[in-house]
Amino acid sequence: MAQDLMVLRQQDLVSNPTTRLPVCLCLDVSYSMSGNPIRELQKGVEYFFEAIKSDEIARYSVELSIVVFQSDATTILDFANIDRQRVPSLTANGSTSMGEGVNLALDILEQRKKEYSNKGVDYYQPWMVLMTDGYPTDDTSSAINRVNQLGSNKKLTLFPVSIGHDADMGILKQFSTMKNDMVLKVTSAEYFKEFFEWLSQSVTVASQSIPGDKPTLPTPPPVIEIEL
């Protein structure tokens, strides 16, 4: 099974030469996300996938993966052609191993970049969207170091997103590679759809920009707060 997946991952790369944008959603699914938030997050992520699929260019250039973290971190969806991907169901449980989650996300992004390079497919530097509603329960310092090093070399764009008002803004700011350490805040689970709509538009713009250039992203909708 694992080998079949490897085959698919590589076949897509040799048959489609479009410059790729790898995106990893790194999601907090700890116990505090139980109930409505996790259900809304699930809907939001599914909406995001559909939005990417409906854009003629993004569909063939944006590649998505999902890492979730609770007491440990897991890749619940690895990179592949979006047509072959189904969003797995998210369940909330356990603590908040954010450091482990970000490290795992960085690993799979790095792995995918290597595959692009091996197959001779050009790519944009990867994006990571880190979403949490709380405080990390593990050590995040190594993950923060890695992110900042990549960020300062323009090899990673990381959007930290606070869900609700109780997330650790200090840590999220440290993870931000955006101007003024920007953090986005989705104040309530009911606004996930707006957030993911904005994200899909941003990803679409970025996937059609000139590699190396900073794309001008659309302004986030008013329900998304920007914390500077």
Binding site: Q3, Q10, V14, S15, G212
Partner: protein
Amino acid sequence: MNRNLFETLVEKDYKIFVDTSSLMQEDSETVFFQVIAPLLHKYKKQLIIPKSVLNEISKHNYNKHKDIFKANHILDELSKFQLWGTNSKFDEQFADNALTSQFHSLRLKYNLCLITNDNSYKKDGNLSQDILDLKKSRSSEYIKDIKVFFIKNKGITEFKDKNTRNKTTKNKKNKEFKKSTHETKSIFKFSLPKSPKEQDSPLNPNIIPEVGSFVIDNNSKRHKLLKQIGRTGGEGSVYLTDSNLICKIYKKEKVTRFREEKIKLLIQHTIKVQNVCLPKYIVYNNSKEFVGYLMPQATGSEIKTSIFIPPLLKQKFPHWNRWHLAKIALNIVQKIEKLHQHNIILGDINPNNILINNENDIYFIDTDSFQIEDYPCSVGMVPYTRKIHHGKRYENYLRTKDDDIYAVATLVFQIMLPGKLPYSFSGGGSEKENMKPENFPYKCYDGTGYNNAPDGQWVYIWSHLPKKLKLIFCKVFKKNEKIKLYELIKEIKDYIYQLEKDYQTKEIFPLAHKQIDADGNILKDNFKKIICKTCKREFAIPNKQVQDFKAKGWSLPTKCKLCKNIKDPDLKTCSGCGKTFKDKYNNLCKNCRGTNITCNSCYTTFLFSESEQSFYDKKGLSYPKKCKNCRGNKSNNNSSSKKNSNSSGGFFSSLFGW
């Protein structure tokens, strides 16, 4: 008549070279003996048989080529009268002895003639044409005459330049050109200044028209904006109007005097190139402030989303083959040539600015970015921008026709290898970093092969392109040299001709490398298709290779190259011996893990590995109690077989040492 022409050449001391192919035709013997030999005799001349030809003949002799006896016969007979030589003066100084390089050098000193039957377009390369092309090179004033003849119907016939089609058009062109030099006033040419005009500050008009509002054109006609087309871009939005024209309205901060003047300049000189959607009218809002312009409507889908993404190519043009791609390429280059005649530099040539309906119906859009006189084109994309301009801001310099030609060469490359950029290579990085001549990964007839070529069908496609088109790409991307648009046009036209004659594969994604036989003829579909066991996709093995496999008694591969190269994620490197093995749970391979046993003879511990255990179990043997050394000594002592006398030299020598 030809006999007369040939006689004249012999008489006038043309150096007459003979190629192998002409010695092996049905009528070769008749012609050489009855036509050529008497003339040589009459004027006391000799044929020149280059060493490369003699080498080739001996190779054919070795391979027992069925017609080689003719060549042997002709050379034997003619040599009796000393009617041919390998004249060292014409031969030995050339390292590769190839005819073309000999002609290349000798053409400046002597009138030359070649007798060859290598003149078919079916071949990947056409010696007759290549030799005649030598006559047309740049320094042609010094070149003496070159003629090519072939053997046919018991006679010797002159090979006429196959590009006579081009020649007549060239003549026509010359006539047209002469005409047009009279009419230069009628073909309007913009000036080509050296430095760009600077953008000025925004005019900030009060009202930016939106859907439903009216705009007024420079003839005071009103147009209603009916609906927006596409997303709002960086400069503004595009609308359909009730007059069936398309209206571009700039964003407030993009409305400048500069833009207005540039568009006025374009409109003043009515320039018409079919399906190039140039501005037609300038438009103003109700307060008579400049806000945008009107242009004809274009239809079709962008090259980016119709050719450069292969799944979409299959979806949008399922019946297309290479002929359609070549036609598209030709149409694009010809449109650019026409614009260049007016000294319009396109600047931002990219796959989003060209729309395709079908192979003959393509549109150029976003023409307000064209560079006109000293109004620069302020946009561009990295892969279509020459390396020397990387790092510059597009509005800070004026581009040249050569910049456009580089961009269109990249575009044509991407049409031929749908979507693949010339510098994408295995091991590469970003588009910008990749753009170095040494990174061009494809084979260029320069002694080097493929160099980190990207995985997949791309090298197959490359191999199937005609040699001369490949040489153009090599010139641009590997040698970093400039080319002219007419060169590109000529090779694309030739490719179309070869596709129409069915000399080249029409397959957009061929499954194997191009196959060429010993005589240089292209073998079509000369491969066996196989379905890959792993990915279930079709791949192919050339028939020649299939025969090789059979001859060696090997079975044919069941997996495609890609699947064969994929590492099984369960494969690991043994931390003991370093070999790869497959196991989910262990870090040591079967040979390196097992139980430790203490030897009951020397009391050292030795590993009895899992693979040994299973071997012993299979054979029903009891497990060993002694280590290998002690077991070995025993067997050496016990047996006096010949096998041991050789291998255990150490044992005996130690005895002799005593």
